[in-house]
């Protein structure tokens, strides 16, 4: 029976192909946008998760309280120092710590000047290991920086090869950092993060000399002993550091975050952005639904006589209702199906562009089966719901009056 309804609905849609296609555009565009946004949002979430899986959830990060936006340690009201690292090392539940410096620097290469970030690598072997692990540092070319290197630098992959300068930076190239000459001994492997891929990496002592910094760190990372609760340890350290600085609870000039919290924050931001964008896209679904409703009202009016005929030859109200609902549902679902195809194409295209810009593995559009099924179901339901009022109108027509309609 249901397949007969589909047949009857299709027979009518086939009769007005242009109208059917035009009606579907709203749903088509809406579903395409929703599918593209959700799949890219999911892809971004996956990317963040995979970055954090190398960073690990057993880390806490200590920075000066930020006074604005920007990378950690910049524009800070408070500072983290070597003394804090000592305090952290003695704290219970902490296995390893490492401090890093992060500073904007002007780079002069072959008489071109660009500004980027300089990032330090620790002199201490244990600290170096921790930083290397959490950031998955690898040399793509040349060698890694090591303890005792003086006036040596590694450059991020994009800084070397993505034409930040007119020429590629090669091993042995000379860079002037704030007027001091450094030799390039290696190129970092791609992180897939534009900021880190454009940075310059120096040993900590070089960096302290270059910027004339004695004790401060931009950010301190601590790894917890296994089995420790990151939040609990963070609380203990917060109290210890506050006491050390004679600062009241809530008035500290530093911040302690667990990696879990950072992940959660990023995820929350991403979810809000995704939800807002998807909400906007959903408006076009609403418009599409109204379009279907309008078309169905027209169809009901045009087919008044036909409805009368069908009733005369034995169609019950439910039959008429079903025929029109299936017809509007088909409009919705066909529009939705095409929208899924376009949305998939859009997100794959974005993935391709992202791969060209930031490397192949950063953003991978994720189109799970439930997204496809959900979008298809949603568009069918949107279509069907939009058809409810017109279909009810059709179903409740009086057969004798409908038959006389000219």
């Amino acid at each position: 029976m249901i397949h007969d309804y589909f047949f009857l609905a299709f027979a009518h849609l086939r009769h007005h192909p242009t109208r059917a296609w035009l009606t579907m555009i709203g749903i088509f565009i809406g579903i395409a946008a929703v599918v593209a946004l959700i799949s890219l949002g999911q892809g971004l979430q996956d990317a963040i998760n995979s970055q954090f899986s190398t960073f690990g959830v057993d880390k806490i990060i200590v920075t000066g309280k930020s006074a604005g936006f920007g990378p950690p340690g910049q524009a800070s009201a408070g500072k983290v120092t070597k003394a804090d690292i000592q305090l952290l090392r003695k704290s219970p539940g902490i296995m390893r710590t490492a401090g890093r410096l992060l500073k904007p620097v002007s780079v002069d290469f072959a008489n071109e000047v660009r500004t980027t970030y300089a990032v330090s690598l620790p002199e201490d072997d244990k600290e170096f290991e921790l930083i290397k692990e959490v950031n998955t540092l690898r040399a793509a070319e040349g060698r890694m920086l090591k303890k005792g290197d003086k006036r040596k630098a590694m450059v991020g992959y994009d800084l070397a090869y993505k034409l930040v300068f007119s020429h590629n930076i090669k091993l042995g190239s000379k860079l002037l950092l704030n007027e001091h000459e450094y030799g390039v001994i290696g190129v970092m492997d791609r992180f897939g993060d534009p900021a880190r891929d454009k940075a310059i990496y120096l040993m900590e002592n070089d960096m302290r000399n270059l910027f004339d910094m004695k004790n401060e760190y931009s950010v301190v990372v601590a790894q917890l002993a296994s089995g420790e609760n990151p939040r609990a340890v963070a609380e203990v350290i917060k109290r210890a550091m506050g006491k050390d600085r004679h600062q009241k609870v809530g008035k500290e000039d530093f911040e302690i975050q667990t990696s879990e919290e950072i992940l959660r924050q990023l995820t929350t931001i991403l979810q809000i952005v995704s939800a807002v964008l998807t909400g906007i896209a959903a408006i076009s679904l609403l418009v599409g639904g109204v379009g279907i409703m309008n078309t169905m009202y027209t169809a009901v009016l045009e087919r008044t006589r036909e409805i009368g005929i069908m009733k005369a030859i034995g169609a019950r109200n439910e039959d008429i209702l079903a025929i029109f609902l299936v017809e509007s549902g088909m409009l919705g679902m066909t529009g939705g199906g095409l929208g899924i195809l376009l949305g998939t194409a859009l997100s794959k295209a974005t993935e391709f562009v992202a791969a060209q810009m930031w490397g192949p593995n950063l953003l991978q559009a994720s189109i799970p089966w439930y997204l496809v099924l959900g979008a298809l179901l949603f568009s069918f339901i949107t279509g069907t719901l939009s058809g409810v009022l017109p279909a009810r109108k059709a179903a409740h027509m009086k057969p004798s009056e409908a038959l006389q309609y000219e």
């Binding site: 027979a11 030859i313 034995g314 019950r316 109200n317």
Partner: protein
């Protein structure tokens, strides 16, 4: 045996503030297998009579017994069932569904009666032969001549093997030759399958194919006579 009985039927339409009495106390009884013509000038209540007999509308007052069941106060869902099972309509304007082919139009009443597809196919083929439509069965109504369309409509009317064929000016949109062929097809149907045929027309010549003629005037049965 009485198949259909109308007892003191009134039908009143309200047009604005005016009350129009389309039928004023009509009583009529139709036997099974009878060929009846309902005749009358326009405005006499013919169409209203057809709507009521065809269960397309309900009377304002009175009783309509079909197979001894009162249909005058039935809900629409049951009326639809009765229309689908017991009554086959043939209209002046053929009233085929334009988006469906001839075969699909014939199958439509069977779809609404939930008849299986195999059975639909079997009956459709038999009906096509019965009404003399062999080829062009997959054409749309607009691709058929008027006579062919009316043959499809008759086949559709017969699809669920109803008791009554209700034909409303079936030759009104046809030329005289084709019209004669169609009315003769109805006569043949009546003779061969002993279906009850109720023909609604204003046409004297057409009415004389019937066994009995009921003449309506101003919503009442004005006179009634038998042929032969």
């Amino acid at each position: 045996m009485t198949l259909l009985e109308l007892k003191n039927i009134w039908k009143t339409y309200t047009l604005g503030s005016a009350q129009v009495h389309a039928l004023r106390g009509v009583s009529l009884s139709v036997n099974k297998g009878e060929f009846l013509a309902i005749q009358g000038p326009s405005g006499s209540g013919k169409s209203t009579m057809m709507s009521l007999i065809g269960c397309l509308d309900l009377p304002t007052k009175g009783t309509i017994l079909l197979n001894d069941i009162d249909i005058a106060s039935m809900p629409e869902s049951q009326l639809a069932q009765i229309r689908g099972k017991k009554i086959g309509f043939v209209f002046q304007k053929f009233n085929l569904i334009t988006t469906l082919s001839a075969v699909e139009n014939i199958a439509l009443p069977m779809i609404f009666q939930r008849i299986s597809h195999n059975e639909q196919l079997k009956r459709t083929i038999a009906l096509l032969h019965q009404v003399g439509l062999g080829d062009r069965i997959h054409h749309k109504p607009t691709e058929l001549s008027g006579g062919q369309q009316q043959r499809v409509a008759i086949a559709r009317a017969l699809a669920t093997n109803p008791d009554i064929i209700l034909a409303d000016e079936p030759t009104g949109n046809l030329d005289s030759t084709t019209g004669r062929q169609i009315i003769e097809l109805l006569v043949t149907l009546h003779n061969n399958s002993s279906k009850t045929i109720i023909l609604v027309t204003h046409d004297d010549e057409l009415a004389h194919y019937a066994q009995r003629i009921v003449y309506l005037l101003d919503g009442k049965i004005h006179k009634e006579w038998r042929r032969r």
